[in-house]
């Protein structure tokens, strides 16, 4: 039997981390989710799969985007026309509250409700396949529902759909149908189709347990190729093939310069490095500078003009878009030569904590997007480096005599 396992379509989620872009790039971005979905459905039809599993987070329920829902409906209708059944279970983002009226899905679509249940279908080969799953009723699910998954003895194959995350630490920190790999392996299913993690992952070998990842990356953490899984399952073996569906990729490139590099040189280096990668997908690129640059260059980086100029170079095409420039070097000189290091280190340690940052931000953190961004460890460390660089630069300017 052959089927496709996909998840986390996030059809109506925007791309994060981009500030400005030319209209042609925005167009590609706006249409990316849909194009990735179309790629997925095209593949399903061309492979003539027996069915498709969509394991949650197809939309963002909070967003309530009509077009996204109708678009998906239309795509699923294409599958209906060639008699490919679709199994949907809602995840934590697109949880279903029965009180709200649903879109009329085409007749080939089976949607799991909040109780773990199973549906049996007959393949063209005559074999019976039972597919079990459940949908989220709210934005989180703290229970471990694995024990409710019971294989159907009358079916030749049993497949389970689960949108959730592995148990970590205290149970109370696990909000998304937590499970352990051991539990899944022992449950007696032939395949576990997981959703929620946006990265293709294999969790076990003895029993196929996979995250298919998302079909299109939407922020710089979701770099690498995105897609879904094409699974060939027989009684003797399981072959899992990753199929690409994404149309936009997030990339990081690093360039090495020095203090003597001029802005023009830096730009050229960046542009060349960007263009090295050739693909038919749009590449959103974060440029990292590994070394210390001169003061003017530093200023250009910090006030955004370097990025602007780099973006200018790419504003009339749609293969690449550099969206940020970062400096990754650690300022290695102590800025305060006259102050003992111990003061410095102690201050750093005291200041760059989550609590201080939160306190400092004050009401700004009442905006969730800001708070979430700055609670990230990476961001906090970037903040620290920026502060040190900043002070060093300004102190350098100021205390020219004391340097």
């Amino acid at each position: 039997m052959k089927f496709i396992h996909a998840a986390d379509l996030h059809l109506d989620s925007p791309f994060l981390g981009l500030k400005t872009a030319p209209a042609s790039i925005w167009k590609l971005i706006y249409s990316s989710s849909e194009r990735a979905t179309i790629n997925l459905i095209d593949r399903a039809i061309s492979e003539q799969v027996d069915f498709i599993l969509l394991v949650g987070d197809l939309f963002d329920r909070e967003t309530q985007n009509i077009q996204a829902q109708l678009f998906l409906r239309n795509q699923l209708e294409r599958l209906d026309e060639v008699d490919i059944p679709v199994f949907i279970s809602w995840g934590n983002h697109d949880y279903s509250s029965e009180s709200r009226p649903e879109i009329d899905w085409p007749s080939n679509v089976t949607v799991f409700d909040s109780q773990v249940s199973s549906h049996k279908i007959q393949l063209k080969s005559g074999e019976q396949v039972a597919i079990s799953g459940f949908s989220y009723r709210t934005r989180w699910l703290n229970e471990d529902l694995i024990s409710n998954f019971v294989p159907d003895k009358n079916a030749e194959f049993n497949i389970a759909m689960l949108h959730g995350g592995e148990k970590t630490g205290e149970i109370r920190n696990n909000h998304y149908a937590p499970f352990t790999v051991g539990e899944l392996t022992a449950a007696g299913f032939d395949y576990w189709a997981l959703g929620h993690i946006h990265q293709f992952q294999k969790l076990a070998s003895s029993v196929p347990i996979y995250y298919s990842g998302t079909i299109q990356g939407r922020n710089h953490n979701e770099d690498g190729t995105k897609g879904a899984l094409l699974v060939n399952l027989t009684h003797t073996e399981t072959k899992v093939n990753f199929i690409e569906t994404d149309v936009i990729t997030w990339q990081k490139i690093s360039i090495s310069v020095d203090e003597k590099s001029s802005i023009a040189e830096i730009l050229e280096l960046m542009a060349d490095k960007i263009k090295e990668n050739i693909s038919d997908k749009l590449a959103l690129i974060s440029v990292e500078i590994e070394n210390q640059v001169g003061n003017t260059e530093e200023t250009a980086i910090q006030n955004g003009t370097l990025l602007e100029r780099l973006q200018d170079m790419f504003s009339r095409q749609t293969s690449y878009w550099p969206y940020e420039i970062k400096e990754v070097i650690q300022p290695n000189e102590r800025v305060f030569s006259e102050v003992d290091n111990k003061f410095w280190q102690a201050s750093e340690a005291q200041l760059f904590t989550d609590d201080v940052i939160t306190e400092t931000a004050g009401t700004l953190f009442s905006n969730a997007f800001i708070a979430n961004h700055f609670h990230d460890q990476k961001v906090q460390s970037e903040l620290k480096q920026a502060v040190l660089r900043n002070i060093k630069q300004k102190a350098g300017h100021k205390g020219g005599q004391s340097e």
């Binding site: 109506d12 791309f15 077009q67 996204a68 009329d104 003992d340 700004l364 502060v387």
Partner: protein, 846 residues
């Protein structure tokens, strides 16, 4: 470093002035405007450069065009130095010489000497002139507290500035209650997006409602459709019932009829046949009887005797006689007609003979013989003379001559008339020639005639005479006998004719008599008259009459026969009727009509039953059962019309629903086409990224500020003990031991009074706070000077303190000078002799 000497070239009011400075404590006394501040500025500017023209600071450029600047002698680490600075760019022309080693040094070297102290630090820490201390008196408690806090940090000037810059930068980006800062503005923008998105979400609610509505409408539609289908089925059923109704009614009626029939004993086909036969017989007989009777009646009514018959019967004798004569008469008639015919033909013959013979007279016997003789003679004679042949030819010739004459005349006349010229002449000639030829030939023949023998001529003359006598001249001799025979025939015929006519006459008279007899008998009908005239018709009439009487006779016969028949028939009837009676008895019927009626009934019933079973087979039991519920067709048709009514209502309702569905669908489509939400979301995300970046910058600035502050605090708190110790000392002196201790408790500067009461800095009186500030400032300068020794310039610190006694002041100054070079400027100083006089310099008002 310790300043030893100042040599002013030109600075402010001082021109070429040398001032010696004590290495420990130098007091410069002078009234206001005497130049105390100038000297302090001189030291400052020499060390750190003249202020630029753009600077707000006083430049103290000398009024006269003397040199600007001067010399500063100082000692540091057991070396003596000379620093010269005069007017020039970038703070002035600078030179530095190590007098001890004679080494020429530059600005960097000087920096290293005084490192880490820079201008700012000096200005803030060491230079307590220029109303700096007074400033403290202007500050609020919290400002003061802050200043005290920050003061402990090394290079806190720069750092304070940096802090200030960061704070400014941060404030530029964001203020909690700000309105114009980018972060605020963008957050506001974001809110608007969120409003728009929320609005769109309301769209979604509307959309969901539309979906719901659509679903409901669809299900309603379906229900209606199902209802309509159901009703259609029912309608069909009722229509079927209605269409079956007539058959049902018929069945009902027939069944009723059948039920109502009381049949007696069954009559089988055989019996019926028998009955039929008998009945037939009877009826036939009866009809025969009837016919006979009718016939009789007919006779009696329809056959009156004709007039003729009456006459006949009245004149039987004569009639019969005449009748018997009829054949004879008929014969006579035909004879007459024959005779007439003969006469006719004879007459015709006669006529033709007469024409033939013309006026010829028949020969008598003698003449006949003579003629025969003569003709023989002639013949003989002619044979002997060939010329006699020419006689034959002569007649021919005569004819030829005639032809010649005719031709000639014709040609001549014609030529004269018709032809012209030559032809005329020729034609006329030819014609005349023909005439001549004719004449000549005639003459010839006449000549020939005249050459005949005498015998012959005699004979011929006799013949000619005879011919004349008997009018035969027109006939050729060969014909004479023929003529004669004809003449005879003529005479014969004439006799016959006469005979005939006589016969005819007599017959006719007979007929006449006969006819008249009849005439007398018969009535005066025209036809009879005609009949009389024509025997044939009479015969017919008689025949008719004969027939009539014959038929009368026949009929009489027949009547008799009829009567006979009648009685025969009656007999038969009786026989058959008795048979019938028996038969009926056998079948238990009183009368034949009853039997018949019964049979008819039976047949009807049988037919009805047949119909009934057909109907029953046509209508199924279930149908019949259903129909039985209804009394009449109207009930069913009522149902039908009701159902139809319901259906049309439903159809209408459904129409409305379908329209509404179309409406809803089009609204959904409009919503579908609206892609703004996606853009809004992306813009929202992008804006959030921007905001995060700005917040990052803001946090960087804020945290930078905080970091520096923190570092400074730490540094301060580190130096704190030392500063505090010295502060304690100086403060004790200043307050004359009113306070025991100055310390930091919980980050707050706290004073502990002699009576152990502790006071927060805020709680102090202004005067005491100012004293504290002073003490700290001194303490700080002393602490810092440990890292780089620069003189402390103090400008009349105690002048504002009312209760500071002079010796306290001196005590303090001495204490200070133990650790740091103090240059003290004051307007008034009454000193004790403890101090060496060279420690005091008096300035006169310039």
């Amino acid at each position: 470093m310790k300043i030893t000497k100042l040599r002013i070239y030109g600075f402010g009011k001082f021109i070429d002035q040398t001032i010696l400075i004590d290495e420990k404590l130098q007091i410069i006394v002078g009234p206001n405007e005497s130049g105390k501040t100038t000297i302090a500025r001189f030291i400052h500017d020499l060390l750190f450069g003249f202020p630029t023209r753009k600077s707000a600071l006083n430049r103290y450029v000398p009024k006269e065009s003397s040199r600007y600047g001067g010399e500063l002698y100082f000692s540091n680490s057991e070396n003596n130095y000379l620093l010269i600075r005069t007017s020039g760019k970038r703070g002035g022309d600078f030179s530095l010489k190590n007098l001890t080693t004679e080494e020429e040094l530059d600005a960097d070297d000087f920096q290293r000497l005084i490192d880490p102290i820079n201008e700012t630090i000096f200005y803030q820490v060491f230079d307590l002139s220029d109303d700096k201390l007074n400033q403290a008196f202007q500050m609020s408690q919290s400002e003061l507290a802050n200043r005290i806090r920050v003061i402990g940090a090394v290079g806190s000037g720069d750092w304070a500035e940096l802090i200030g810059e960061y704070d400014e930068e941060a404030a530029r980006l964001y203020k909690v209650r700000g309105r114009k800062q980018p972060i605020v503005v963008k957050l506001h923008e974001l809110n608007q997006f969120e409003d728009q998105i929320a609005h769109k979400k309301r769209d979604f609610t509307a959309y969901q409602n539309l979906l719901l509505k659509k679903r409901n409408l669809n299900s309603e539609n379906q229900q209606n459709q199902q209802q309509i289908d159901k009703l259609t089925q029912e309608l069909e059923k009722f229509r079927n019932l209605a269409s079956s109704w007539p058959a049902y009614e018929r069945l009902h009626q027939i069944s009723k009829k059948i039920a109502s029939q009381n049949l007696r004993e069954r009559i089988d086909e055989d019996a019926w046949q028998k009955f039929g036969v008998m009945k037939g017989q009877i009826s036939q007989l009866e009809s025969t009887t009837h016919q006979l009777y009718q016939k009789q009646k007919e006779f009696n009514e329809k056959h009156p005797q004709s007039e003729l018959m009456v006459i006949q019967q009245q004149n039987k004798v004569i009639w019969n006689q005449l009748v018997s004569q009829l054949p004879e008469m008929t014969q006579i008639t035909s004879e007459i007609s024959d005779l007439k015919k003969n006469a006719q033909s004879l007459q015709e013959e006669q006529s033709s003979f007469e024409r033939d013979v013309k006026t010829a007279i028949p020969f008598d016997e003698a003449t006949n013989e003579e003629v025969v003789e003569l003709l023989n003679q002639q013949e003989q004679l002619v044979k002997n003379r060939p010329v006699e042949k020419s006689r034959l030819r002569q007649s021919e010739k005569k004819q030829t001559n005639t032809i010649f004459y005719l031709l000639g005349i014709l040609v001549t006349a014609g030529s004269l008339l018709l032809f012209h010229g030559g032809f005329k002449f020729v034609g006329t000639v030819v014609g005349i020639l023909l005439l001549i030829a004719g004449y000549l030939s005639t003459q010839k023949s006449n000549l020939q005639l005249s050459k005949s023998p005498d015998d012959l001529i005699q004979v011929q003359n006799r013949l000619t005479k005879i011919a004349e006598e008997f009018q035969l001249s027109d006939f050729p001799q060969s014909q004479w006998f023929i003529v004669q025979s004809k003449l005879e025939s003529l005479m014969e015929n004439q006799r016959k004719l006469d005979n005939l006519s006589q016969k005819i006459k007599s017959n006719e008279s007979l007929l006449d008599d006969y006819a008249n007899s009849w005439k007398r008998l018969l009535p005066a009908h025209e036809e009879n008259k005609a009949a009389v005239g024509n025997l044939f018709e009479l015969k017919q009439l008689l025949d008719n009459l004969q027939q009539e009487s014959q038929s009368m006779m026949d009929e009489n016969n027949r009547t008799q026969l009829l009567a006979q028949q009648k009685s025969d028939t009656n007999e038969q009837i009786v026989i058959v009727q008795s048979k019938m009676q028996k038969f009926l008895e056998e079948h238990h019927r009183a009368t034949a009509s009853q039997f018949e009626a019964d049979y008819q009934k039976q047949e009807v019933v049988a037919k009805d039953q047949a119909t009934q079973s057909i109907l029953k087979s046509e209508l199924s039991d279930s149908v019949i059962e259903k129909l039985e519920q209804y009394t009449d067709l109207a009930a069913i048709t009522d149902n039908i019309s009701q159902i139809k009514g319901n259906m049309s209502q439903l159809a209408e309702t459904n129409q409305t629903i379908i329209q509404q569905l179309a409406d809803v669908n089009s609204q959904i489509n409009i919503m579908m086409g609206d892609t703004k939400l996606e853009e809004l979301l992306q813009k929202q995300a992008s804006l959030q990224s921007e905001i995060n970046e700005l917040v990052f910058s803001w946090l960087t600035a804020v945290l930078s500020s905080k970091l520096i502050t923190l570092v400074l605090d730490l540094a301060v708190s580190d130096r704190q003990p030392e500063i505090l110790k010295l502060t304690n000392n100086y403060f004790k002196i200043l307050t004359e031991n009113r306070y025991n201790e100055v310390k930091f408790i919980d980050d707050q500067l706290t004073l502990i009074r002699k009576d152990s009461r502790s006071f927060n800095i805020i709680e102090l009186s202004k005067g005491t706070a100012q004293q504290l500030y002073l003490a700290i400032s001194f303490a700080f300068a002393v602490v810092i000077s440990k890292q780089a020794n620069l003189p402390l310039l103090i400008d009349d610190a105690f002048v504002n303190f009312d209760d500071v006694r002079k010796d306290t002041a001196i005590q303090l100054l001495n204490k200070l000078s133990q650790n740091i070079q103090v240059i003290y400027f004051t307007t008034n100083f009454s000193f004790s002799s403890e101090l060496i006089s060279n420690q005091i310099m008096t300035l006169k008002r310039q």
